[in-house]
């Protein structure tokens, strides 16, 4: 049956309303106030996604004693030289400009030192303390100020509207985005000259996970279905200190990296500062990949807590000091009945961030003209491991660049007619779920996904487990076809869970298949069966691409050391 849909015509469609999406809107409007921009967000605009959740802060070179080269080398060293060096170079060069925009144009006010200049704090893996922040809840400041600017530039806001697919014309040019209005259950086609994908990664697919609910890899899944190549999908970062709160949804919420920067200890159940056995030089201030792996090994070797974690302890700084410097984190622990300011708190590695994503150029352009990808949906900037503080920098830097690139190029693009068959196929995915008469619950299937990813493609992997993960995912993909959800389409939570899950499973498959191929340990991809980094064979990145929906192509490409050769 042919589905009816509303058409919205626009110059630029932006999918996602986090840091990347909002920067894209603001920058495009700054350059071309005459453009019509449509902002599509499956959650509340400016209040969903993860930029809002940024705690510690934003890495940018602002101090004369620091340098762009240092930030660049830190980023490559953290990324184990798997980074696309041009993307990383762009990141470190543009980060100070974005901080400037946030303060001078958009009115953010970051923490200052005694002289009244921006104060930068210590994060792990940095040769200079360069993390700009607002207390320990930096994301609220950034996202609130950006969201407000939308009242000035007035894009068309599609709040609670889920982007389903990127739709091309019969000739293969970008034509727009098929959408489901979550509030009404009706279909929309946003017909656009340019599309910017900025939805964020898929790290929620683990049992213990940090991100906001919305982060289900929608952007990457849409791009995969549109035939784009993704890279580094095996690189999923675990933040070392996720809160353990039993069955509560609070489990997995991050306790920020600044705690380790400020001197917090990590201890196993017997009170030993175990990092001395893994990285005696940097101890707790080692990079996220190293600390997460160490914590996981402690837990798996029976040296963890009863609750399956380790302890973070910063109480030696004194109650008042901790309360003063980390009020948000203290509040977070008190809510679950512990107290960071007075004693140890149980934590575990928590799934946090996808380094992998769509292959892009430095202006976020992709292999489809008119289609841009920015932020966590893209891959390459961080290589095998992202430094704390480089995440929000990436979203805002590349969101900004995508907006500018679109506005500059817009006159080259036309409003293309969609391939009606593709559009209907996209709507049919939703109809299929709603009309399904099977017996599978989307919530149960999501739990199965989270379990298998945690068990079999978690902090440390091996060949056997990776194979189990792939088998489980393929089974999940077929069970998804038998899903059953309530039939009323108005704000249908279960339907949306099912659509999220379709995206997550597609992204998860790209992760485990890439992970199976990389037979070494590098950055966030740790293997029991290949414990060492293999620079001779594996300074290569893995690209993955869907062929016809079921089949896939996978290939490796040597990293181009365009600026620095690994030492």
């Amino acid at each position: 049956m042919t589905q009816r849909y509303e058409v919205i015509q626009t110059d630029i469609a932006v999918i996602g309303s986090g840091g990347a999406g909002l920067f894209a809107v603001l920058k495009a409007k700054e350059l071309r106030a005459d453009l019509h921009i449509t902002l599509i967000s499956k959650g509340a605009i400016g209040r969903s996604g993860c930029t809002r959740m940024v705690q510690g802060g934003f890495n940018a070179v602002l101090n004369e004693e620091d340098s762009i080269e240092k930030h660049f080398l830190d980023t490559l060293s953290g990324g184990k030289y798997l980074n696309d060096q041009e993307l990383a170079w762009t990141l470190v060069n543009d980060a100070p400009k974005v901080i400037h925009d946030l303060e001078v144009k958009y009115g953010c006010f970051f923490d200052r030192d005694e002289t009244g200049r921006i104060k930068q704090k210590a994060f792990a893996g940095q040769s200079f303390d360069r993390t700009v922040h607002k207390g320990d809840l930096t994301g609220i400041e950034i996202m609130s100020r950006l969201r407000e600017q939308l009242f000035r530039v007035k894009p068309r806001e599609l709040e609670d509207v889920r982007a389903l697919d990127l739709v091309v014309s019969k000739e293969g040019s970008i034509s727009g985005v098929s959408c489901l209005d979550v509030r009404t259950g009706k279909f929309i086609f946003v017909n656009a000259k340019c599309v910017i994908v900025a939805t964020g990664g898929a790290a929620t697919m683990y049992k213990i996970a940090a991100p906001a609910r919305e982060k289900t890899g929608d952007g990457v899944a849409m791009c995969l279905r549109a035939g784009l190549k993704v890279r580094d999908m095996e690189m999923l970062q675990f933040h070392p200190t996720g809160l353990l709160a039993g069955e509560s949804r609070m489990t997995g919420a991050v306790l920020e990296e600044g705690l380790r920067g400020a001197g917090a200890f990590l201890k196993n159940a017997s009170g030993e500062r175990f990092m001395s056995r893994y990285d005696s030089e940097r101890m707790e201030r080692s990079t996220r990949d190293v600390v997460a792996r160490a914590s996981y090994t402690e837990i798996m070797s029976g040296r963890g807590t009863k609750g399956g974690g380790i302890y973070i302890d910063i109480s030696h700084l004194g109650k008042d000091e901790v309360q003063h410097r980390f009020p948000g984190m203290v509040e977070r622990t008190r809510l679950i009945g512990s107290d960071l300011s007075t004693g140890p708190v149980e934590v575990s590695p928590t799934s946090h961030f996808a380094m992998g994503g769509v292959e892009i150029g430095i202006d976020c352009e992709t292999s489809i003209p008119g289609l841009y990808v920015a932020g966590e949906d893209s891959g390459g900037t961080h290589g095998a491991n992202r430094l704390g503080g480089n995440g929000v920098a990436e979203s805002t830097v590349f969101g900004s660049r995508a907006g500018i690139a679109c506005a500059r190029a817009i006159d080259q693009f036309e409003l293309n007619k969609p391939d009606e068959e593709l559009l209907q196929k996209s709507f049919a995915r939703v109809v299929h779920v709603v009309q399904g008469e099977g017996n599978e619950s989307p919530f149960t299937l999501t739990n199965s996904l989270k379990e298998t990813m945690w068990e079999n493609f978690g902090v440390v992997r091996d060949e056997k487990k990776i194979a189990i993960a792939e088998t489980d995912l393929l089974e999940l993909r077929s069970r998804l076809k038998k899903i059953n959800v309530p039939k009323n389409q108005v704000f249908n939570v279960a339907l949306n869970e099912a659509l999220d899950l379709e995206n997550q499973v597609e992204v998860a498959l790209s992760m485990v298949r890439s992970g199976a191929l990389r037979k070494e340990t590098r950055g966030s991809h740790s293997r029991y069966d290949y414990e060492e980094a293999d620079d001779e064979n594996w300074l290569k990145f893995i690209s993955y691409q869907l062929d016809d929906g079921e089949n896939y192509l996978i290939e490796t490409t040597p990293v181009q050391f365009t600026r620095v050769v690994p030492r």
């Binding site: 969903s48 809002r52 400041e141 407000e148 600017q149």
Partner: protein, 231 residues
């Protein structure tokens, strides 16, 4: 065992009825955990909203036993009965999900965005211990959840009062020496929908999940503290 269960009454929008659920208690547990337990294993038709679950996004505002709270920041301890409804003063989309449009409409009226002063091109040098920051700092970190807006006896009634959150934001901007829209914004907030409509009943400050005090912001505008400093 039944003592271990929490009796939860949820107001449903479809036929305007109340439905009762029994939820197994665990610890730690929040109102959001209660909603997830119901929605995921008892009644998949229940509509509710959340995102970050750590008190940063402000989207999970509901009314629990009559009081506006963030579901994710409200612990369930030994309560045996919970009544959960959509926040008051908004149009309900479905069950606990409401349309925040009236909140943002008022927010938009105060020129809520930063307007850089003409000619400013450098990051401002402002020490934390300055008078300006002392005035501002207690009022930042608003997450736009709307709890104050719905609790306020004036704005919650659906009239044109700008409301606590928007006025709090206006105060912060008015006190910010970097902002250049001061006079225009002052006229709005001192106008007929502005600060003089506030009854200082303090409901806003009582319910704020971030511990902010919008009523104090309103007083700061009223007694023109934000302008004295700027001379």
């Amino acid at each position: 065992m039944s003592m271990e269960k929490i009796e939860v009454i949820i107001k449903r929008s479809e036929d305007d009825t109340q439905r009762e659920f029994k939820v197994r208690r665990f610890s730690p547990m929040t109102i959001l955990d209660v909603l997830l337990a119901i929605g995921r294993s008892q009644d998949a038709t229940l509509a509710y909203r959340f995102s970050c679950r750590v008190g940063m996004c402000g989207t999970c505002l509901v009314r629990v036993n009559g009081k506006p709270v963030l579901a994710c920041q409200t612990p369930v301890r030994d309560q045996r009965n919970l009544k959960i409804e959509a926040a008051a003063g908004f149009e309900t989309i479905k069950d606990l999900v409401f349309d925040p449009k009236p909140f943002w409409a008022q927010w938009a009226k105060v020129i809520p965005y930063f307007v850089p002063k003409a000619g400013s091109s450098e990051i401002a040098v402002i020490p934390h211990e300055s008078d300006e920051r002392e005035l501002i700092d207690p009022h930042v970190n608003c997450i736009q959840c709307g709890a104050c807006f719905t609790a306020c006896s004036v704005s919650g009634g659906g009239n044109d009062f700008l409301g606590p959150a928007a006025l709090n934001r206006a105060m912060v901007l008015m006190a910010d020496s970097r902002d250049g829209a001061g006079e225009e914004r002052r006229e709005i907030v001192e106008g007929e929908s502005g600060v003089w409509r506030c009854h200082q009943a303090l409901a806003c400050s009582v319910v704020c999940p971030k511990g902010l005090d919008p009523a104090a912001s309103i007083r700061k505008i009223r007694n023109r503290k934000v302008f004295k400093r700027k001379k």
